[in-house]
Amino acid sequence: MAISPAYARPRTVDSGFTCGACQRDFPMAQAAGSLYVCPACGHHSRISAHERVRQLADKGSFQEWDPDLAGRDRLGFVDTKAYVDRLAEARQRQQLPDAILTGAASICGHPVGLASFDFGFLGGSLSTAVGERLARAIEGSAAELRPFVCVTSSGGARMQEGVFSLMQMAKSVAALHELAEAHVPFISILADPTMGGSIASFAALGDVILAEPKAMIGFTGARVITQATYEQLPAGFQTSEFHHARGLIDQVVDRRQLREVLGRLLAVLGPSAVEGAGRLA
């Protein structure tokens, strides 16, 4: 693809960061320093899987699992564009084979299996490759007795993989059975957005469920609900806070405190507890 001179020019001036909620501008360094949470209004911007791992894992601790695991276009799917082309573009742009990054890491010194969804990759949707990499990360965590931490940011099923996408819900839940059998904890973190097949399978099954503030979480999206039922949506519908108030999420945690909260959770649930030193045999 030819790059026009306007885009190829090296960026000498910091392009800055604009908050998607309050529209205020900040220097990129300041935005990065506040973990892409708006210093003015507290809005949590969506971040890439790589950025999430940088924020949560101890420096240099992340060892990627299955870096080359990629799926294929099983249905020969074409909508307004061929699925193979969508995949190729997303791979190039996001520097990931599909919409998830997984690996071994430590958080505040506690070893974990870590998975992070990448919303920029086709909406973080559940493909066979995403489901497979997630399942392997869950099983790897079970085998190594590492608490499993998954940060989800996913629109749900990937339409272009049809019923194979649907079956990833079953695959992830089957893998979680192994984790439970090994008595290894699962901490599920819901980031904006966590919808459809993702929240209706693995993401809702955390032993502990945390969510970032004002993340959109739900089975059916607000637009579809309105179209299907003509219902009036209550204020704050499907936000983290909405679900927290209904007993579905344990804590709403600001991204700037997330690592510390995980550290405290892992101190209680971590490997010494997994190995039976702390918890009942």
Partner: protein
């Protein structure tokens, strides 16, 4: 030839075939779960409620026998009259419906009863109250309950198998699909709205999703396609049941007579797509 291009004959035919599948599966005279439960199973006794404060009529649970074998039964139920359609909510369950199914799985495990499930739902109900009461959580927990069920489990898709709502009672050891039934990641209308921003392009979406039942067999998601009377199940309910009952009996016998291991069910859904070596 792309499935998006309906100008071509092959793609046009594929779209028509896929859409015909959807239309027959939704035919207003098609037998619903209770019509087939009454014709295929013996001594059906309905049970009610999720034991947590709700009894969702979109999901029916109960006890029955088949060829002398006692069973636990779970089914999506649509309504036929205006009044019944309202009561059954068009077969679209709220969280209480999924929790009712979980109760049935728990009961079956404790009493060592095999489970037979009848699937016929457009999907989980997409409404405010359902979301407020944890629709996604209810479905996730039902998936978990199915994969933990210690007894043999047989599912048959008899009409629409829509999305996560269908999956909540589909993860069986053996999956049968009636000839004109379908299973889909989303309804063709919803898929078209997402893919083309136009729910009207549902035929094109149905073709792209390759909704024909035969594909489910080829892909290893279904174990058997059960033939329907000529024209479809709506033409003759008794004949539909006559064709289905021996298949249920034989599959159930197969599941109950071999050394049964529920871990095999988890392995099935773990390896289902067959794209990755272990």
């Amino acid at each position: 030839m792309s499935s998006a291009d309906l100008g071509g004959t092959a793609a046009g035919e594929a779209a028509q075939a896929a859409w015909a599948q959807v239309e027959v599966s939704r035919h207003p005279d098609r037998p619903y779960s209770l019509d087939l439960v009454q014709r295929c199973l013996d001594d059906f006794i309905e049970l009610h409620g999720d034991r947590q404060g709700g009894d969702d009529a979109a999901v029916v649970i109960g006890l029955a026998r088949l060829g002398g074998q006692p069973l636990a039964v779970v089914a999506n139920q649509k309504g036929r009259t205006l009044e019944e359609r309202g009561k059954r909510n068009f077969g679209m369950a709220h969280p209480e419906g999924y929790r009712k199914a979980q109760r049935l799985f728990t009961l079956a495990g404790r009493l060592k009863l095999p489970v037979v499930s009848f699937i016929d739902t457009p999907g989980a109900y997409p409404g405010v109250a359902a979301e407020e009461r944890g629709q996604a959580w209810a479905i996730a927990q039902t998936l978990e309950a199915q994969l933990a069920l210690p007894t043999p489990y047989l599912a048959v898709v008899i009409g629409e198998g829509g999305s996560g709502g269908a999956l909540a009672t589909l993860l069986a050891d053996s999956v049968l699909v009636l000839e004109h039934a379908f299973l889909s990641v989303a309804s063709p209308e919803a898929a078209a709205a997402i893919l083309f921003r136009d729910a009207g392009r549902k035929q094109q979406a149905a073709a792209a999703l390759r909704l024909e039942a035969a594909n489910l067999l080829e892909w290893g998601i279904a174990d058997e396609i059960v033939p329907e009377p000529p024209g479809g199940a709506h033409t003759d309910w008794d004949e539909t049941a006559r064709l289905l009952r021996p298949r249920l009996e034989s599959r159930l016998l197969e599941l109950t007579s071999r050394g049964f291991d529920p871990a095999r069910r988890r392995e099935r859904y773990r390896r289902l797509d067959g794209l990755f070596s272990a």
